[in-house]
């Protein structure tokens, strides 16, 4: 921990992923290169089924790539790396229903901290996501949006350097979703975390990201890597009406459209 942090928190080089399903091999990712700088928020956007989650799982060490390299904090990924946390889409299944909310948040801390320190961290992390007084409840006793907040608190309490989010708000209602987006923007700004968010929602990607990476094609490659030049203090109303926001959103959308059209052409040819 006494060496200075490497500039790129996540480095993906020439990533290949092929699955064999029922004897037929399916080429999902074809030479993906991506660097995420420390403290940066990168959103990976693309159609469902393009391989966004596969990419995330390779970074998380939950899946072994067929080729290429992935490094987190300068260390080649061989299994789930230290200092990395993941928030999954399905909060209903990623939280343990038999553990109370506090025990869910402290579960990853059992390796390293005393009970007192664990509980202190849980209280702090739950407060950071706007949850007070729910420690003694079970996850299934609170709303879906609150459950996803608990999952985020669990990740924060773990104090990762890199936080991955896999379609984190795809299962909550629209109002809750924008609240949670604002929460993530605030956390990213305050904590200096390196964040990689996978989403199919273009607005969300542009709203959250310092950079938006478009994953498209079959097999998928990086079709575009766009810097988001929007003020850091983002706001659901003003940011989403900003001409730069609209321009980026249009650009990402046309990129995805074009890729989809060319795939359709190739399929029908």
């Amino acid at each position: 921990m006494n060496q200075s942090p490497p500039v790129s928190a996540v480095r993906i080089a020439g990533l290949q992923q092929t699955f064999v399903v029922d004897g037929a091999s399916r080429h999902v990712l074809d030479g993906v290169d991506l660097e995420i700088r420390t403290g940066e928020t990168v959103c990976v956007v693309g159609h469902s089924g393009t391989g966004k989650s596969t990419l995330l799982r390779c970074v998380a060490g939950l899946q072994r790539p067929s080729g290429g390299e992935v490094a987190v904090a300068g260390q080649a990924v061989a299994g789930p790396p230290e200092g990395l946390a993941v928030v999954f889409q399905d909060y209903g299944r990623s939280l343990m229903p038999w553990l109370r909310i506090r025990e869910n948040v402290t579960l990853p801390l059992r390796r390293s901290l005393s009970r007192r320190d664990r509980n202190a961290r849980a209280t702090e992390a739950l407060a950071a996501v706007g949850l007070d007084g729910v420690e003694r409840l079970y996850p299934w006793q609170v709303s879906g949006g609150m459950q996803q907040r608990v999952a985020i608190a669990r990740a924060l309490a773990y104090r990762p350097q890199v936080l991955l989010m896999d379609e984190p708000f795809a299962s909550v209602d629209a109002q809750t979703r924008s609240d949670l987006e604002d929460l993530v923007v605030r956390i990213a700004a305050e904590s200096g975390l390196t964040l990689m968010v996978v989403t199919h929602d273009i607005d969300e990607a542009v709203y959250l990201g310092d950079r938006v990476v478009v994953l498209a094609g079959r097999p998928a490659r990086i079709a575009a890597d766009l810097e988001v030049d929007l003020p850091t203090g983002r706001d659901q109303l003003t940011t989403k009406a900003d001409p730069e926001f609209l321009r980026l959103r249009g650009e990402v959308m046309s990129l995805i459209r074009r890729e989809t059209a060319s795939i359709a052409e190739r399929m029908s040819a």
Binding site: A85, V86, M96, W98, L99, L107, R111, Y138, Q141, Q175
Partner: protein
């Protein structure tokens, strides 16, 4: 309060009717095999309240407790182990199925030959019988863990102990409890069986002895005692289940869901 009284009445009416019918139907019975219930209950009082409790009942329950306890602990430990090693389990599955399908009491002569007629052989055979239902259910429960739960556990690099005690076992608990309840009833059956074979103590021995000496009312009193014991054990395991699975029940019924206001 009223609802509890109603449900008690619903549960109790049939036993009450049956016992009353038995009482009056057998009141003037002269059959050797079916003595009046009144006589049986008198013998029950003489025998089990509490003259033979320190001897026969204590003997049986000690064996049951030791056998069931060790059988369940072994089943949980082995179940978690094999549940986490799917390939090894697949290789062993035919053997496990064979062992489970073998009536455990049939092993009694072998075990007695090896360990003698003492307490040890009885405890061992009860443990053996109690082992299989819980073991097989634990393996299945552990193997059925949601892949996402596995991903969460891997991502946060949980230690094996945390993984086993905080994730795998609770996740498998509903199914484990099904196994435990089967184990409990199997253990009672084997406890009685082990006392029918070359024993000189225990409730099973007492029943056999009463039958041999034509003390049929005593035999019936022993049977009633066994019935009551089985019922009490069932209540006990239901209580344990409620305690262990309170989260499961609460989630299933959703009765305690807090109003979902906003995020």
């Amino acid at each position: 309060m009223r609802r509890r009284a109603t449900s008690l009445a619903v549960e109790a009416w049939l036993p009450v009717v049956l016992v009353t019918t038995w009482w009056f139907a057998s009141a003037t019975s002269t059959s050797i095999y079916f003595p009046p219930l009144r006589t049986i209950l008198e013998r029950f009082q003489d025998l089990w309240l509490f003259e033979r409790v320190p001897t026969d009942v204590a003997f049986s329950l000690t064996n049951l407790g030791l056998g069931l306890g060790s059988g369940l602990v072994a089943a949980l430990a082995a179940g978690v182990m094999f549940g986490l090693m799917p390939r090894v389990h697949t290789a062993m599955a035919p053997l496990f199925e064979f062992m489970r399908a073998t009536p455990i009491v049939a092993l009694l002569p072998l075990i007695v030959a090896m360990l003698g007629l003492g307490v040890t052989s009885k405890v061992v055979i009860i443990a053996l019988g109690a082992f299989w239902p819980t073991f097989l259910n634990t393996v299945d429960g552990i193997r059925a863990v949601d892949p996402l739960v596995r991903d969460v556990a891997r991502t946060y690099r949980l230690t094996p102990v945390t993984l086993a005690t905080r994730v795998m076992l609770p996740n498998a608990a509903p199914q484990i409890m099904v196994g435990v309840r089967t184990s409990v009833s199997v253990a009672v059956v084997i406890m009685v069986g082990s006392e029918l074979f070359g024993s000189s103590e225990g409730i099973g021995y007492f029943i056999l002895q009463s039958q041999r000496s034509y003390a049929i009312a005593d035999m019936w009193a022993g049977l009633i005692l066994l019935g009551l014991l089985g019922y009490a054990l069932n209540l006990l395991s239901a209580g344990v289940e409620r305690l262990v699975l309170s989260w499961h029940e609460g989630r299933r019924t959703g009765s305690t869901t807090v109003a979902a206001t906003g995020a």
